[in-house]
């Protein structure tokens, strides 16, 4: 055993090794107790849903539940698509596309809010970006606001036919979730 205190010796090694082992052991003991609070398998299983679009005729809209939130799916008329395309993006309150599938900085043209080749289908998260109410506009009889899209009755936010905020206190366009077409009449959201 080394009698020289200045050089490292077996005692220093074993103290360091022991403490490292204890730290690793402690972390691995703690991890399951932390991780158990994250969404469990049943929550993750509901993370993606499939929606059959065949009953939704032109001009109609449905609302589905995805990850605990309402998702608006509207089969837009040609008139609505034309209206959405006619808007100059620079005049929008929120110029970003807010499309989860595209980069943050993408501009909010209608083309960036839909899937190419399926421009009649608008899929967005139906939560007002102001304080979280569900805007009106899904059913035929609903008020759709000044821009023909959706209207939030809580504080008067108006959304257009592309779900973009045009008037009112909401700061952002309604979010487009990640979705893809599994077939012409079926999409997977999430």
């Amino acid at each position: 055993m080394s009698a020289d205190i200045e050089t490292t010796n077996r005692r220093d090694f074993i103290v360091l090794a022991g403490n490292t082992f204890a730290a690793v052991g402690g972390a691995s003991l703690l991890w399951p107790f932390v991780q158990q609070m994250n969404p469990d398998a049943s929550a993750l299983a509901m993370a993606s849903i499939e929606v059959d679009l065949s009953p939704v005729k032109e001009g109609q809209a449905i609302t589905v539940m995805w990850r605990g939130k309402p998702v608006f799916i509207r089969n837009r008329t040609a008139e609505e698509i034309k209206q959405a395309n006619a808007v100059d993006v620079k005049t929008l309150i929120d110029t970003r596309a807010d499309n989860a599938a595209l980069p943050e900085a993408t501009v909010a043209t209608d083309a960036n809010r839909v899937v190419k080749g399926k421009e009649n289908w608008l899929v967005l998260v139906g939560i007002c970006t102001h304080l979280g109410c569900i805007p009106k506009g899904q059913s035929i009889a609903d008020a759709k606001g000044d821009f023909g899209g959706w209207f939030c009755p809580c504080h008067g936010s108006h959304y257009d036919t592309s779900g973009r905020i045009r008037k009112g206190p909401a700061p952002r366009n309604m979010d487009i979730p990640v979705y893809s077409f599994l077939s012409d009449t079926k999409i997977k959201v999430g």
Binding site: I5, R11, P32, F33, Q35, Q36, M37, N38, D40, A41, S42
Partner: protein, 430 residues
């Protein structure tokens, strides 16, 4: 316990704190410098192991309570969801279920240590009685917890045990039924029962925690017993708790974790009952109702007495009698190490408890009934006959002159008071 505090705050901050709330001093005096007998064997590590079990049960229990639903329609499924869906639920749920059994294994070894070495004798009577209260609270907690998964055994065990109170109808007509209805919150075990059992199951471990604090406090006032039963009389009889007793306790905890882990990972359901994987059915009684293994001896005593009230009284008496042991045992000598006759009866008592445990799991038929009655008699005879009588008639073996002598042999520590040369009673200095 002996002498004043040797704590010296090392920094100005430590000194500032010590003048306002001497917490570091308390920890130092109780768990660092505290003189522990130098001859403690591994039977003295179960106190630390039990503390580990209590903390483990509380931590895993609080986590399970984040996912469990205490409603009769959803409880069973919520436990399955924990095992299947919750992240690491497959690990945390068995930790809790197996942990309950490990808790009782440890507490029984801890209690038998106390019985063998006379740790209940003066001046440790209060310490011992607090221990009995902890044991009672543990049994209540375990019973309540077992009802929560709402399997067949959960439901019918709850029905049987709450129905014990109906035996009071034999004392005052109607009183027993009123109490049972009050416990149930209905006319049978049902959702109100489950909900309140969940609340009480969450509560009691913290009651246990409080009694444990008193238990450890009472221990530190009188000091630990040791295998010789002699008191610490000189410095060489003891070693500071840190590092000696602390490392022994830590080592024992890790050894304890080995069977604990084996059950969790290899056979988590072994100590349970298969019938509890059947959802509770109020219209079907399982053919073979048994409580968890740690209740079996008391269950055997309950069933051994033919009378309904008598059985309940006997079962309660089997636990309450423990409170009186400090006064039932008449021996002047503490440790069974020096009590040859008592030692024989002690091991027979251990056998009695194991036999009662086995018989508690057997159906209520002959020849089991006879042997349950035989061993129930043996159980009570140990406390009510053996302890008073043997203490008086027995000639104890020659006691060593001191703890030091029992460790180092004759010629050492015969009351000299000095630390023998070469004995290390402090942390190694460099």
């Amino acid at each position: 316990m002996s002498g004043h505090s040797t704590y010296e705050p090392k920094s100005n901050t430590a000194k500032w704190f010590d003048e306002r709330l001497p917490l570091a001093r308390l920890v130092h005096d109780s768990f660092v410098a505290f003189p522990t007998p130098r001859n403690l064997n591994y039977m003295w590590t179960f106190g630390g192991i039990l503390s580990l079990c209590l903390v483990a049960q509380i931590v895993t229990g609080i986590i399970l309570a984040m996912h469990y639903v205490p409603n009769d329609q959803m409880a069973f499924d919520s436990v399955q969801a924990i095992k299947r869906d919750v992240n690491y639920g497959w690990l945390i749920q068995p930790m809790h279920a197996v942990g309950a059994s490990m808790f009782f294994i440890a507490v029984y070894l801890h209690i038998f240590r106390g019985l063998y070495y006379g740790s209940y004798k003066a001046p440790r009577e209060i310490l011992w009685i607090l221990g009995v209260f902890i044991f009672l609270a543990m049994m209540a907690t375990g019973f309540l917890g077992y009802t929560l998964p709402w399997g067949q055994m959960s439901f019918w065990g709850a029905t049987v045990i709450t129905n014990l109170f109906s035996s009071l109808d034999g004392v005052i007509p109607g009183m027993g039924t009123a109490i049972v209805t009050w416990l149930w919150g209905g006319f049978a075990v049902g959702n109100p029962t489950l909900n309140r059992f969940f609340s009480l199951h969450y509560l009691l471990p913290f009651v246990i925690f409080g009694i444990v604090i008193l238990h450890v406090w009472a221990l530190h006032v009188v000091g630990q017993n040791n295998p010789t039963g002699l008191e610490i009389k000189q410095p060489s009889d003891a070693v500071p708790m840190y590092p000696y007793a602390i490392t022994k306790d830590l080592f024992a905890m890790f050894v304890f974790l080995i069977p604990f882990a084996y059950f969790i990972f290899i056979m988590p359901d072994y100590l349970g009952h298969a019938d509890n994987y059947i959802p509770a059915d109020p219209l079907v009684t399982p053919p073979h109702i048994v409580p968890e293994w740690y209740f079996l001896p008391f269950y055997a005593i309950l069933r051994a007495i033919p009378s309904k009230l008598g059985g309940v009284v006997a079962m309660l008496a089997a636990i309450i009698v423990l409170v009186f042991i400090p006064w039932l045992d008449t021996s002047r000598v503490r440790s069974a190490k020096y009590r040859p006759i008592f030692r024989w009866f002690f091991w027979y008592f251990v056998f009695t408890c194991l036999a009662l445990g086995y018989l508690g799991a057997m159906p209520a038929e002959q020849p089991y009934i006879f042997w349950a009655q035989f061993f129930t008699f043996s159980y009570f005879a140990f406390f009510l006959l053996v302890m008073p009588i043997v203490g008086i008639i027995e000639t104890p073996s020659r006691l060593p002159r001191s703890i030091t002598e029992s460790v180092l042999g004759k010629g050492h520590g015969g009351g000299g008071g000095q630390v023998p040369a070469g004995a290390a009673t402090g942390p190694e200095k460099r």
